[in-house]
Symmetry: C2
């Protein structure tokens, strides 16, 4: 997605060979028009999948997910990162390890929101090691629902998360795929749209 | 806002005299079309305030805030509830006590996103004791920015948060104002739009 790649090039800050800071438009301050365009792009790429619900994880996934859900005209659900007092019973849970935060978190979704008839589109802001997406997949599987696809805003293609998800036969669409962050420069994977094997 | 009040009446669950569960459309599963309408309503109510940025707090505030920001054509910033590894320096912070979760959390916003020239619209999903909104106000004040208004999706008008904010002279707009949750019933405050004193 050209507008996103352009934004990454102008506003992203390469902190190291593995860390790209995009807090000016994606995960702290957000550009709402870009989020809307991202939602539209996800909707277009998964339009043929008869999505019934969009599932994401708090917090940075919420904006792109709500925009995709708006476009697809389906509800959006966000997994919580720990239990709150008013949401204790009837949860589907999974454990997710965050390499950035160096801690394991329990994520949860109320059972009542996912059924066997659902075709779920999983959305997240970043894909690196794939831990968050795998945790969401695990929740979809527990519900007996179908994981219809995974939409990622920025994929670090030099880490193995994308491969781990795609080898399960799931359609993974990343709107920007980063090949390398070496020498302080963002290099995108050449093809603009990945061909599913 | 009629569509919101109607949704609360049909889908909200009164758990006690003080707790209203709205997890089917507002803070776990979300209705994206309702979120869009909420964003439009906030934009209309604060259009005259020359808002430069929308500020909210993760996680349930993000969807209404991004929709308001989209409509107002300004960036949205969400305060984080604790420091992450890539966001340590240059933070404005405040401590927020959550009565629901019975714990104090530090909320933070990167300094660089708020300037003295900013006119900030604060958005949140719920207003009860006003702790979260007061924490966000505190952050706006530290930046020397102007708190141009506060937009709340659901206000529990029987708790004192609304009064504490309004007595500071800030325009507070709540799209649904609940007078009482007694006897398992939602009663809204009579006036559809509060007259500022």
């Amino acid at each position: 997605m050209k507008a996103l790649e352009q934004k990454i090039l102008t506003d992203g800050i390469v902190l190291s060979d593995t860390i790209l800071k995009v807090d000016t438009f994606l995960n702290h301050q957000m550009d709402p028009l870009l989020m809307k365009q991202i939602g539209e792009e996800f909707a277009a790429r998964f339009q043929h999948k008869e999505i019934t619900k969009v599932l994401t994880i708090e917090s940075s996934g919420i904006a792109p997910a709500i925009m995709a859900a708006l476009q697809l005209e389906v509800p959006m659900i966000f997994a919580r990162k720990r239990k709150s007092l008013t949401l204790q019973d009837g949860l589907l849970t999974s454990n997710v390890y965050s390499f950035t935060k160096q801690e394991e978190t329990e994520i949860s979704v109320a059972k009542k929101f996912l059924t066997e008839d659902d075709h779920i589109l999983i959305i997240d802001d970043f894909l690196a090691n794939g831990q968050a997406a795998l945790g969401l997949l695990h929740i979809v599987e527990q519900a007996g629902a179908t994981a219809a696809g995974i939409g990622i805003v920025i994929e670090k293609a030099f880490q193995d998360g994308g491969e781990r998800l795609r080898e399960r036969g799931i359609q993974v669409e990343s709107l920007a795929r980063i090949e390398s962050l070496q020498d302080g420069k963002v290099q995108f994977v050449k093809e603009t749209r990945r061909v599913e094997v």
